[in-house]
Every structure is written in C-alpha cells, then in structure tokens.
Amino acid sequence: MDCNAVLDRLTLVAEGDLPAEEMLIARAHLADCGSCGAAYRELLRLSSELRELPPPPPPPDLRARIALALNASEAARRRDAARSPWEVFGPYLAAAAVVAIAFGLTTLLSRPRDGGRVARAPATMARPPEPVKGAAQLPAAEGAVPPSADATTPPGPTPDDRSRLAVEAANRRIREFQEREAMKSRDGEALWPSDLEPGREGSAPNGSGAPPGTRPGTFATPPLGGEPSVQPPKAPTQIDVNFRPPDQPLVGVGVYGVVEVAARDSLPRVVVTAGGDEGLAINKPEGMLYVGPLKAGETLRIPVPMTASKAGLHEIGIRVESDAPGGTTDLKAFVPNFRTSDAPKPVAPAGPADRPVNLVFKNASVRQALLDIAKQAGLRLEMAEGLGAERTSQDVRGVPARAALRAVAETGGYQVDEVGEVFRVTRTARPNP
C-alpha cells in the first residue's frame, strides 16, 4: 500500500472501518512513513477539534421568526384556497387562449393553398404557458420539496419561492417592528402608527375598518402574512388584552408587569410583543414576550420585564398577533409612578437579596450567571442539574440581587421562587397546549 492509498483511507483507519488485513497494512505504513503518520495525527486532532466545537446558540428570536414565517405561509395558502378558480387559473387560461389563437392563426397562414397538408404543431405547444407577469401565482405543489420527499426520494434543493416569500413576509414584520422601535426612540413619538391609535378605526387594507362592536384598543388588521386578504374577514376573533403594571416600580431596576391575554376562540399560535416609550425598555429581545397557543377561555399571564430610565409615567404598547381574521390586537397602557431609588421607598425589609450586585454578563450561560449573582449577594440558589444552558446577556450593575436573579432567569425561560432563604429556579410554566 503506497502513500496515496493510505491517505485515501485515513478516515477509514480512524473510524476503524477497514477490513482487518487492510487495517494492519495501513497502520504499519502510518508507523513507518513520517509524512503519512503526521497527516493521520493531524486529521485526528482536527476531527476531535470539530467535534468539540460548541453549537452556535440560536438567536433569541429565531423561534418567533419561524412561527411568523409559518403563519405567513399558512395565510398565503388560505388566500389561494379562498380564490375562485378563475382568479387562480384565469391568467393561465387567458395566456393559453392567446397561444391557441396565435397557433390557429399560424396554422391558417401556413396551410398550403391546396389544403393537402396540415402544418406541424409548434413544439412550444407541449409546454405550459409562462405565467403572465403580475398575475396570480399557481399554488406551488406543496413547496419546493418533491411529492415523495422522504429518505428514499428526499426533498431536492429546488428553490421554493413560496417558502422564501413566507420568510420575507415574516422578516418584514420583524423589521417593521424594529423600525417602529427605532423611530420611537429617535423622536419619542407614538408607539404605533397613527392609523392604529386607540380610539380610531383600524386600517385594514381591505377597507373594512374596525369591525362593529370592537372595543377601543382592538383593531382589525390583516392576518399574519402581511398581505391584504382577498376575502373580507369573517367574524373577527376577539382577543382581550389587559396589562397590570408593576407594583412598586423603581427607576433603573428591572421590574415586572403582567399582560393577560384571552380569546373567545382557540388560537393555535399567538405572538405577543411589547414596546415601551423612550424611557422604558422592555427587557426581551425584540420585545417578544410569548409565542404559543391560546385556548378559548384560558387567560395567559405573561410577565413583562422592564426597566425605566426616568421617573414618572411611562407608556407601554402591547401587540397580540394571531393569524385569525382580525386577530391582531394592540393595547396602549400606562405604567405609573416610576420612582427613583432616592425617593421614599416602599416597605421592603433590607436583606442580602436587596443588595445591588455589580455584574455584566455577555453571552454567559444562564446557570453561570445565576450562580455568580447568588455568590456575590451571598444567596442560596437551588437549580436542578441540566438547567440553565441557555445564553444570556444582561447588565445588572446596581440591580438588587433578587431582581437581577429574576431578570437573568427570565431570559432563559425560568422563574425564581423564594422558599424560605432559598432562591429556587425552575422552568417557567407554559400554558398547557
């Protein structure tokens, strides 16, 4: 076995995947040949290095992005299903008719005067007509994946315009949200576009406006997917949104309000986001508070972590989106009485948990961050093995240890309960789907 043959088999040697005799020969060569031996050792080290690479943590908003893209894709499918056959196929039939007429004309003109022979049909007739520009798209045959997308005949890499459009629609909504946030922080103006101000009629692109009986703060906006619906919405889904401000809000301290969401009908997926005014930060990436199901009659209670940078009254906007017709609700609420910590404080017995910590975490594991806070404040922390692998970035300098623990735990989907002197960290209970 020469050097080339051995180099071709390095992985098989490393994985023990050679017949015994070949393995012996290859190993003997690796022991004798300096360059092949070095290549083999290098390969082993590289392979081991690759295996030890930590997986890149998914962006915090990835889950919500996937949900929005799926919503957009479902909305597009429903729109297609709601179209009349003429709307969907009309442009194609029209194009086919044009081709047919052109073909008839061609045939007529090319027919010999004696009528003895018929001109051969143009080869193009075998192909379906190209879609008319700007016309409705034919429903894709279930995405880009071929019909038998399985292990034997798996989905191919064919570009899927529909899925890409869904992703674009979802990302557009996220961008819009970010732009609103940026605009708000730039000029401190309204949180939502003026046409969505409470008390005004909604601005659904289908022109239906706010449906009758809609209470202030409820708007008929287009379903997720962002495009105007072809069909007018059916009875709009009533989503009730309430906001309970934090009890004793202090400036510069992470505090929690609670948003309560309930609906008349079960919704497979709602997305709850929040944004504050220029002096009120919502301590969640993109303001995303919740993505998940909402059962009829059930009330979701979602904590809203926030920090105010100045005292007084603050404004908060809550948006609840679902892909049901008219299923988006905006609520504007107030968070009163933020006080600076110098102001007379509400009664709170001073203890180690009230002492401020001085820590900054950047992409640290939630577990390590919680341990550090507890250690610095001298608190006893209880957290089950295996919890807290999520990553967090938090600046909790000057934040009382209790609030710091809660703020960090929240970013990983945990809650902190005080049991005697112990701070117990558990997963935040999710509504039972």
Partner: protein, 194 residues
C-alpha cells in the same frame, strides 16, 4: 423526545395540526439552526435558511412516510436550503468567521474560575482556526464535515441526507478532512503541526 413521540406529533401535524408541528419545531430548531449556521457561516442567512426549511417541511409534511427518522428528513431539507443559499449568494472570496465574532459576544462569557485561562485562550484560537478553515473548503466538503464531525451523524444518515451512496460519503469525508487540513494554512501550527 423519543421517536415514538415524534411519530405521534408527525401524524397530528400531517393532519394540519399546527400545534403538533410547533412542538416538532421546538424540539429541533436549535439543531436545524446550528447546521445551517455551520454550513453558511453567517448568522442572519442561517436564520433565514432555518425559517425557510421549516416552511418547506410544513408544506411537504404530507409526503413524509417515515422511511427515515424525522430528524434525518429535516436535516436533508436544512442542508438543501443552506446549499441553495450558498449557490444563490454572490460569494465573497472568503467568509471569515472568528469564534469571538461568531455571535458577537462569545469572548466575554463569564469565565469558569476553575479553568486554566491560558488553555482556554489556546482552545479558542484552535476553534477559531478550525472555523476559518471550515469556511474555506468547498460546500460539499463542508456539508459532510458538519454532518459527521459536528452533528455526529452516522454514514448511513448522511448518505440519506445528501442523497449519495454510502461509499461516496466515506471517500468524501476523507477528502474533506484532508481539504480542511490544507485550508488551515499557517494556523496548522496551533495544532502542533510544523
């Protein structure tokens, strides 16, 4: 979650139960993103690719017949979408990606007090070098390295995901590792190689 749980969820999702599909997403999206990210080498594009993969998976779920595991089927879609992204993109001559810049803030992770800081620095340098080299090899080579070495999949699964024979996976993996070694360039010194 065991495969039988997946089977129940898949059956429900195939009957247009979005909630069941969402649970499958919950279970798998970290893996899907990690795969897309390692293949594409760009966080935003990997995010888009992951979204697109799930939209494709949801719309074609009715075609999944359970001949392979759900995760193998999903891997295949993620890999295909990621390779699509790479093909569509006007590729920069080199997609450099440092570990410390990978997600912006890896470098400032709270240090483990028990760890040896020098060893930690060296480990990070080696990881950065490997990631740089990984982005220099061809897409086909990177795909097999990501699936085998990073995701720890078996040859058979990779063959199903990439749609190539088993023997091709083995030979391609060997060539990919040699290509990775060549792509290390001067960084090879970090691995004790002259």
């Amino acid at each position: 979650m065991n495969p039988s749980d997946h089977a129940g969820l898949i059956a429900r999702a195939q009957a247009s139960d979005r909630e069941a599909f969402d649970r499958l997403v919950d279970e798998t999206h970290s893996m899907a993103y990690a795969t897309a990210y390692r293949l594409i080498g760009d966080a935003d594009a990997a995010c888009d690719a992951t979204q697109e993969a799930y939209v494709r998976a949801y719309s074609s779920l009715h075609t999944f017949r359970g001949n392979s595991s759900f995760s193998t089927w999903l891997y295949r879609i993620v890999v295909n979408v990621s390779l699509d992204v790479l093909r569509r993109r006007t590729r920069a001559p080199e997609r450099l990606m440092l570990v410390d810049e990978e997600h912006g803030e890896h470098a400032v992770e709270v240090a483990d007090p028990s760890a040896d800081p020098q060893a930690d620095v060296e480990r990070r340098e080696r990881q950065a070098a490997v990631l740089r080299a990984l982005q220099r090899v061809s897409d086909d080579h990177r795909a097999v390295l990501v699936l085998f070495d990073l995701n720890g999949l078996a040859y058979e699964e990779i063959a199903a995901i990439l749609g190539v024979p088993l023997g091709t996976v083995k030979s391609r993996l060997n060539r990919a590792r040699l290509a990775l070694r060549d792509a290390l360039g001067v960084d090879a010194e970090l691995f004790g190689v002259p």
